[in-house]
């Protein structure tokens, strides 16, 4: 084995230094010959004779030389090198062909590389932590943020439960816990700052960094002692936040920031590549021990609530332990712990019995983003592969045309004894060269493409921890893809070329009107037309799905509206202060020039948060085993007017509704339909929680249905409580401001910021966003798919048309003399035009015949994934067919008109 390797190595060396060694060997033989001749002289031969005999004794010089060369180098590689040199020269000589081919390939390969960059970053790349393959998520993290009640698939932990399993599950070397979603807290860089600004803050267990194996860039990371009750509040900052928001100032280490009202000391900067336990837009900026949570988020703190399930947990499995073994132990631990709780944490006995816990590999961290993007990325991978196939078909056609043009040359070479294998090798060499050049150009296109894709996929995020510049695996992928591409589109021309019949070709070069090499060319056009149709239909359907989502009746109006997300720290406020505070705030906001109406609420529609709770209705007890529930929100006066939700009956919530006035509520039509199907709902009473609360709120109004959380579902039954009257779940604290403004809404941000700070310095603007943008961010993955499929579909269409044009133009050139004869014999120009169009459109028609059933099947397959798209969408299908036919006619018309303008006399003199 080693000997064989040595031989190959020395042969490759021989290949690289051919000249020198060849001369060397010639000289060696020369001296051998000389010595033989000397010997012969000594034996008494005449000088002439001595040399002749010497040459006989040595053997044929040419053979020895040839044999030596063969042994010394790799013959196949040598011919490849020759071919590469020869083909490079040929490609340089036809810059037009080369640049069209390379550009086409760059588009095809670039389209694929861009998608793969994202696939790699989102689906394949592990977290930048130590041995990510040992990490397991304790659960399947499909269940975000729900607090109480049973979980279908166990994934959220309470802090006491976490401590229990952390200390009693020896299958894991360490288990760390952290909040299931990363909240934005308002913070000040130092106590002297006047305004707060948002910091995305993740609460983590003390062993979080050691479990992940992530170190500090400067200072230190957190330790379990930092996470003990009563320990001072410390923070580790992300490297990026340090660089971007603090300009990398060294003084940040050891600095005291203020988060909420709590001083927090920054003890370390995390490793530069670390972005937390999940890949997502806008990752965590600060990591703070779990035990500081009650001090930083005093309203609704979860840490000490045994039945608040709010933490995700990731563990590092010990070597040699199977995940299944750990899973079953962990499950019984959790079951025991819950069973021992007085109220069983809301689990019914049989629910606890059937509890599901699935350990999932966490080498990529928490998979919330991946769940959203896995299917779209798979779809886009297929779409981009189609584009590349069409590009391949184009180049294959170009090569075929060129091959036909150089048939004379090839025939001569075959006649002179060139082996067909060698001819095929040459064609494939050329196609691989082109593909590699296209791949290189594609990488730079992909860089731009990836940036656009990231903007689409993470609309609304300031920062995404994904590099657009190609990484090593991506470059390797592109290289392999280019090689494969080169071989794929080289096959057809190589095959056609190897069919060359030298005798036939040489007899009547270029005169025939039909020949075999046109069959693969037409087949490729058929393939292109079929693929283009499929892509166009896909693009149409995806776009229609997105449009249905965006243009649906939401039950509110977004035009001219702004939403301001506010971090409000009223931890120390008595509730009595809120009415005057809210009133002042609303008045001052409404006084900003351009603002027509201002309101406050707990949540606003489609911002991604929701509050749902069991309710009870006076006089309407729930049937046994069933629980009434409703989505809930708390809103100020003018709320519905500001967001444009219509009143159906009764009245809106208004200034009358104070903490001391009778408690009232406004319900949605869905609520009325669900709970009062056959009676008047105005005047009815309901409350949050069990029957003792059923008289808490009187229904005074009904508003139209509006979607708050799931755009694809029907609007939930929802009840709105006055902000000042609602006390359950801290819902008297507002998070959002809604503004209806005239003119350009975006310029108001500084005014809004100032107004808030003037009213109360504890009010921090976390984000100012247009209402339509807040809604649009819900459809990022749908938009990514729709836009990219459209882009790729158009790209495919253009490529297919260029291909069609090329073939048609080539046909006209080749048949010029035939056209001349036809015209000389009296064919009208109209007939010539029709003839060329017929020839060009035949493969398109065939492509439609092949592609339409496939497109129909595709339509049926993806309709359920798209909102409001029928499984047989005649409009999209028909449009795609028309677009394809129209563009094909345009592409074929150009050469057809040229054909019709042929001067018969000139054509007949041609050749």
């Amino acid at each position: 084995m080693l000997g064989w390797l040595r031989i190959v190595a020395s042969r490759i060396w021989g290949l690289l230094s051919p000249k020198h060694t060849d001369e060397d060997f010639t000289q060696e033989l020369e001296s051998h010959l000389e010595m033989l001749a000397q010997e012969n002289l000594r034996r008494g031969m005449a000088p002439e004779e001595a040399r002749r005999v010497a040459r006989v004794r040595l053997g044929g010089l040419t053979q020895i030389n040839e044999r030596h060369r063969e042994m010394r180098t790799l013959p196949l590689l040598e011919t490849v090198v020759q071919d590469v040199r020869y083909r490079l020269r040929a490609l340089r000589k036809s810059p037009g062909f080369t640049s069209v081919a390379v550009l086409t390939l760059a588009l095809g390969i670039g389209a694929n590389t861009a998608i793969f960059t994202l696939v790699h970053a989102v689906l394949l790349k592990p977290l930048p932590v130590a041995h990510p393959e040992q990490l397991y998520n304790l659960g399947d993290d499909q269940n975000c943020c729900s607090l109480g009640g049973s979980q279908d698939s166990f994934t959220l932990f309470s802090y006491p439960l976490y401590k229990e399993i952390r200390d009693h599950t020896p299958e894991f070397s360490e288990i760390a816990a952290f909040r299931s979603h990363v909240p934005k807290l308002s913070g000040r860089r130092s106590s002297s700052d006047a305004y707060g600004e948002p910091f995305r803050t993740q609460f983590v267990s003390g062993n979080y960094f050691s479990m992940l194996g992530v170190g500090a860039f400067a200072g230190r990371t957190l330790t379990p002692t930092d996470d003990e009750p009563g320990a001072p509040t410390l923070a580790v900052m992300s490297y990026r936040t340090w660089q971007v928001r603090f300009s990398g100032e060294p003084s940040v280490l050891g600095r005291q920031m203020i988060l909420g009202r709590e001083p927090v000391t920054v003890v370390g900067i995390a490793a530069p590549r670390f972005f937390g336990e999940r890949l997502d837009g806008d990752p965590a900026e600060l990591w703070i021990p779990l035990n500081s949570e009650p001090r930083l988020m005093p309203i609704g703190s979860h840490l000490n609530e045994t039945d608040d399930y709010w933490l995700y947990a990731i563990g590092r499995l010990r070597r040699g332990v199977s995940a299944l073994q750990a899973q079953s132990h962990l499950k019984s631990e959790i079951q025991h712990w819950i069973a021992a709780r007085p109220n069983r944490s809301g689990y019914k006995p049989e629910e606890l019995e059937e509890m599901v816990l699935t350990l999932t590999p966490a080498s990529g961290g928490i998979q919330s983003l991946q769940v959203d993007y896995a299917a779209p990325l798979r779809f886009l991978t297929v779409v981009s592969a189609f584009v590349l196939l069409i590009a391949c078909a184009n180049i294959a056609n170009l090569l075929l045309a060129r091959g036909t043009a150089s048939r004379g040359e090839i025939a001569v070479r075959v006649a002179l004894g060139a082996s067909r294998a060698r001819l095929v090798q040459q064609v494939v060499t050329e196609s691989v060269l082109l593909a590699l050049a296209g791949g290189a150009a594609g990488v730079s296109l992909a860089f731009l493409g990836t940036r656009v894709i990231l903007l689409l996929a993470f609309r609304g995020s300031e920062y995404v921890p994904i590099e657009a510049s190609p990484s090593m695996p991506v470059l390797l992928f592109t290289f392999m893809l280019s090689l494969a591409t080169g071989v794929i589109f080289g096959i057809a021309p190589a095959w056609a070329g190897s069919l060359a019949q030298p005798a036939e070709t040489l007899r009547g070069a270029g005169r025939s009107t039909t020949d075999h090499s046109r069959v693969p060319q037409k087949a490729l056009l058929v393939l292109q037309a079929a693929l283009s149709l499929i892509l166009l239909v896909g693009a149409g359907l995806a776009t229609e799905g997105l449009r249905n989502l965006e243009k649906q009746r939401f039950g509110f109006l977004t035009a001219g509206r702004l939403v301001v997300q506010v971090g409000s720290d009223f931890g120390g406020y008595a509730p009595e202060r809120l009415p005057s505070l809210y009133q002042e705030l609303q008045e001052r906001l409404a006084a900003i020039p351009g603002v027509q109406s201002a309101s406050l609420s707990r949540y606003s529609p489609m911002e991604g948060s929701n509050w749902g709770d069991p309710i009870s209705i006076a006089g309407h007890p729930a049937p046994p085993g069933k629980v009434f529930s409703s989505s809930l929100d708390s809103v100020s006066a003018h709320y519905f007017e500001t967001i444009g939700t219509r009143l159906v009956h009764g009245r809106y919530i208004d200034a009358r509704d104070t903490p001391t006035s009778p408690h009232v509520a406004v319900i949605s039509e869905a609520f009325a339909r669900k709970y009062f199907p056959n009676e008047e709902s105005l005047g009815q009473h309901f409350g949050i929680g069990d029957a003792s609360h059923s008289g808490d709120y009187e229904i005074v109004g009904i508003v139209e249905d509006a979607k708050y959380i799931a755009a694809r579902e029907a609007a939930h039954a929802t009840a709105f409580l006055p902000l000042l009257q609602a006390r359950e779940n801290n819902s008297n604290i507002f998070h959002d401001i809604q503004l209806l403004v005239a003119g350009s809404p975006q310029n108001l941000e500084p005014m809004i910021r100032r107004t808030l700070a003037n009213v109360d310095s504890n009010l921090t603007v976390l984000r100012v966003i247009r209402f339509d943008e807040q809604v649009a961010e819900n459809f990022n993955s749908e938009r990514l798919v729709a836009r990219l499929t459209t882009l790729y579909g158009l790209l495919a269409l253009v490529l297919a048309c260029v291909g069609l044009y090329g073939v048609a133009a080539y046909t006209v050139t080749r048949r010029t003399s035939e056209i001349g004869i036809r015209m000389a014999l009296g064919a009208p120009r109209r007939d010539i035009l029709a003839m060329v169009l017929r020839v060009a459109m035949a493969p398109v028609a065939l492509g439609l015949l092949v592609g339409l059933p496939l497109a129909l099947a595709g339509n049926r397959a993806i309709a359920s994934e798209l909102y409001g798209v029928k499984s047989y969408d005649a409009f999209v299908l028909g449009t795609a067919v028309l677009v394809l036919i129209a563009s094909s006619i345009v592409a074929a018309l150009i050469p057809a008109r040229r054909a019709a303008r042929v001067d018969p006399m000139a054509a007949l003199r041609y050749e």
Binding site: R6, S31, H32, L58
Partner: protein, 115 residues
């Protein structure tokens, strides 16, 4: 590839070249060819050129090394010498050759006596 004269296997020539270099020390191609002819008492009339593929092969296996030098009569010539790995190989080959030739000899003898 069958350019060697019938009767001289590729490996055999390699073995003879190695042995020659072991006993004679550094030698050029002509010297090696001559020496093999002499030893065999001119029973082996080589096309002297055939030593070169053998030399190339041995060089590639790093069993011999080569260096330009000056021959007895002041001529520039390439001198080959056996390497340490070459000596080891030679020892092995010689041993297996002896074994095989012994076996073949015995087999041939049995057949002869059987007739």
């Amino acid at each position: 590839m069958g350019e060697e004269k019938p009767g001289i296997l590729q490996g055999t020539l390699d073995l003879m070249v190695l042995k020659t270099l072991e006993t004679m020390g550094p030698l050029h191609g002509y010297g090696i060819a001559r020496r093999i002819e002499q030893i065999s008492e001119d029973a082996l009339q080589l096309n002297q050129g055939t030593v070169y593929p053998s030399l190339t092969r041995l060089l590639q296996k790093k069993w011999i090394s080569a260096e330009w030098g000056t021959s007895e009569n002041n001529r520039k010539a390439k001198f080959y010498s056996i390497t340490k790995a070459g000596r080891k190989q030679l020892e092995q080959e010689a041993r297996s050759w002896e074994r095989i030739s012994g076996v073949i000899g015995r087999v041939l003898k049995t057949e002869a006596s059987g007739e």
